[in-house]
C-alpha cells in the first residue's frame, strides 16, 4: 500500500496534481480546505460514495468516507 503521507502530498496542491492520478478524482480539493481537518475533501456532486470507496481502497486499507456537516463535501479520513 502507498504511504498515506505520499498520497496526501499529491492532494495538497491542485496545481501540482491536476489531473489527480487516482481515476475519477479530477476535482479533489486540498486537504483541510473546508473544515480544518486533515481529511481529503471532494465536492459531493463530483462523485458517489461507492466510487470513492472503490478508488481509495486501491490506495489505503484503513479509511472512512463521510459527508461534511453541511453535506457539500465528501471527506475521506485515512488512518
Amino acid at each position: 500500500m502507498e504511504r498515506k503521507a505520499d498520497v496526501m502530498e499529491r492532494f495538497m496542491n491542485l496545481e501540482k496534481v491536476q489531473p489527480v492520478d487516482i481515476p475519477g478524482f479530477k476535482f479533489v480539493q486540498s486537504m483541510g480546505q473546508v473544515d480544518g481537518t486533515e481529511n481529503i475533501v471532494i465536492p459531493v456532486h463530483k462523485s458517489s460514495f461507492y466510487e470513492l470507496v472503490e478508488t481509495f481502497e486501491k490506495k489505503f486499507e484503513d479509511f472512512k468516507v463521510f459527508n461534511s456537516m453541511d453535506k457539500q463535501y465528501w471527506q475521506v479520513e485515512v488512518n
Binding site: 460514495f49 461507492y50 481502497e57 479509511f63 472512512k64 463521510f66 459527508n67
Partner: protein
C-alpha cells in the same frame, strides 16, 4: 443465475426507488437484488416474460401477496422458480385480517420459502428456511461520520410499529439522571421518530429526549447515529434486525432486544429482554465500560456472516435443498 424481485402492480413506489438508490445501501430485503446482481420489476412488467429469469422473489406483503397465485399459475411447466418470503414481524401478521388458511396456501405456492429469523419461520409452513437478509458490509464499514461519539445515547424508534415504544425512553431518561455523570452521558436522541398525529406520544418524546432525529435517508441516519456513545433498541418484535448489522459495521455498541436475531448474534453480551429495564441499565454500564471496545471489535468481525457472499451461500443451500426435494410440489404437501 438471472434473478428478479417482483414488487408493485404497475409502478415501483417512489420511496422504494429512493431506498434502492441510497449509497451505501441500507441492509435488508432489497439487498437480495444487489447480491444476485438481479433486477426489480413490477408484476405487469414481468408477468409475460417470467421465463427470462431463473428465480423470481415475491415478499408476502399485503400489497404484493396478491400477485403470487397469478405468478404460480403462469409458471406452470416453467423452469423458473418462485421464491416467497415473509419480511414482516410475526406479531403483525394478525393485523392484516388474513385468513390463516389463505396465509398457508400462499406459502405453498413457492418453490422455496423463507423468512429471516426462527420465530417467524416457526409460524410458517414446514420446510421454511431461516435466511437473514444480506448486507453490503464492505461499504457499510467504510462509512464514517463527522459526528464523533460524545456524551449522547441514541434510541431507535421503529416507525412501522409505533405502539408501546416509549417504555425505552423512560429507561434512558432514568439512566442519565442516575448514572449519567459517572459515564459522562448528558444527552439522548430518538431516531426515526415522526409524530404520526399522536399528540400524547409527541409530548412524551419532547420530555424524554433532548434531540429528535426524524425519519431520514439511510446514509444520513447511518452517519448521525455514529455520534452516539451507545444505542438502545428494546424492540419488542421478533425480527432479524438490520440495525444490529449496521451498528456492528460502525462499531457502535447497542443494548438490543433479545427478540432480534442480529443482536443475539453480534452483541450477545448486550442483549436484554425488552421489558426488563433494570437489565437494560446494567447493560448500558457494560456498553459504556471497558469491555465496550472488545464487544464492538468482535461484532465487527462477526458481522461478516451477513455479508453478500455468506448470504448467497445460505440462499444457494436453501434453494438446492428446496428444489431437490420437489420445490412447489413438496411445499404443497406441507402443514
Amino acid at each position: 443465475m438471472k434473478f428478479s424481485h417482483v414488487l408493485g402492480g404497475n409502478t415501483i413506489p417512489d420511496n422504494i426507488k429512493r431506498c434502492l438508490e441510497e449509497q451505501p445501501a441500507r441492509s435488508g430485503m432489497y439487498n437480495w437484488i444487489f447480491a444476485h446482481k438481479g433486477e426489480i420489476n413490477t408484476f405487469h412488467d414481468i408477468k409475460d416474460r417470467l421465463d427470462d429469469f431463473d428465480q423470481i422473489q415475491v415478499n408476502m406483503s399485503p400489497k404484493d401477496m396478491v400477485f403470487i397465485p397469478e405468478l404460480r399459475r403462469r409458471l406452470k411447466g416453467s423452469s423458473t422458480k418462485l421464491i416467497i418470503n415473509n419480511d414482516y414481524v410475526c406479531e403483525y401478521w394478525g393485523k392484516w385480517g388474513l385468513d390463516p388458511y389463505k396465509y398457508d396456501q400462499i406459502q405453498r405456492m413457492g418453490d422455496m420459502v423463507f423468512s429471516t429469523e426462527p420465530n417467524q419461520v416457526s409460524n410458517m409452513i414446514d420446510g421454511t428456511f431461516v435466511i437473514p437478509h444480506p448486507s453490503n458490509t464492505k461499504y457499510l464499514k467504510k462509512l464514517g461520520s463527522a459526528h464523533k461519539p460524545t456524551d449522547s445515547m441514541g434510541f431507535i424508534y421503529h416507525w412501522w410499529a409505533p405502539d408501546g415504544k416509549h417504555l425505552g425512553a423512560r429507561t434512558i431518561n432514568k439512566f442519565i439522571a442516575k448514572h449519567g455523570e459517572r459515564y459522562d452521558i448528558k444527552n439522548s436522541t430518538i431516531y426515526g421518530w415522526n409524530q404520526l398525529g399522536d399528540d400524547r406520544m409527541a409530548q412524551h418524546t419532547d420530555i424524554m429526549f433532548d434531540k429528535v432525529s426524524p425519519l431520514q435517508a439511510f446514509p444520513d441516519f447511518a452517519q448521525k447515529i455514529q455520534g452516539e456513545r451507545v444505542v438502545y433498541d428494546p424492540n419488542p418484535y421478533h425480527t432479524y434486525g438490520r440495525n444490529g448489522v449496521e451498528l456492528a459495521c460502525f462499531k457502535r455498541p447497542v443494548v438490543g432486544s433479545n427478540r432480534v436475531l442480529s443482536y443475539n448474534k453480534l452483541f450477545p453480551e448486550l442483549t436484554i429482554n425488552p421489558m426488563d429495564h433494570n437489565d437494560a441499565v446494567a447493560k448500558f454500564k457494560i456498553a459504556l465500560g471497558r469491555d465496550s471496545e472488545r464487544i464492538c471489535e468482535q461484532a465487527y468481525k462477526d458481522v461478516e456472516q451477513f455479508n453478500y457472499a455468506n448470504s448467497l451461500k445460505k440462499w444457494n443451500s436453501a434453494t438446492d435443498i428446496a428444489f431437490d426435494r420437489g420445490g412447489v410440489e413438496w411445499n404443497e404437501k406441507q402443514m
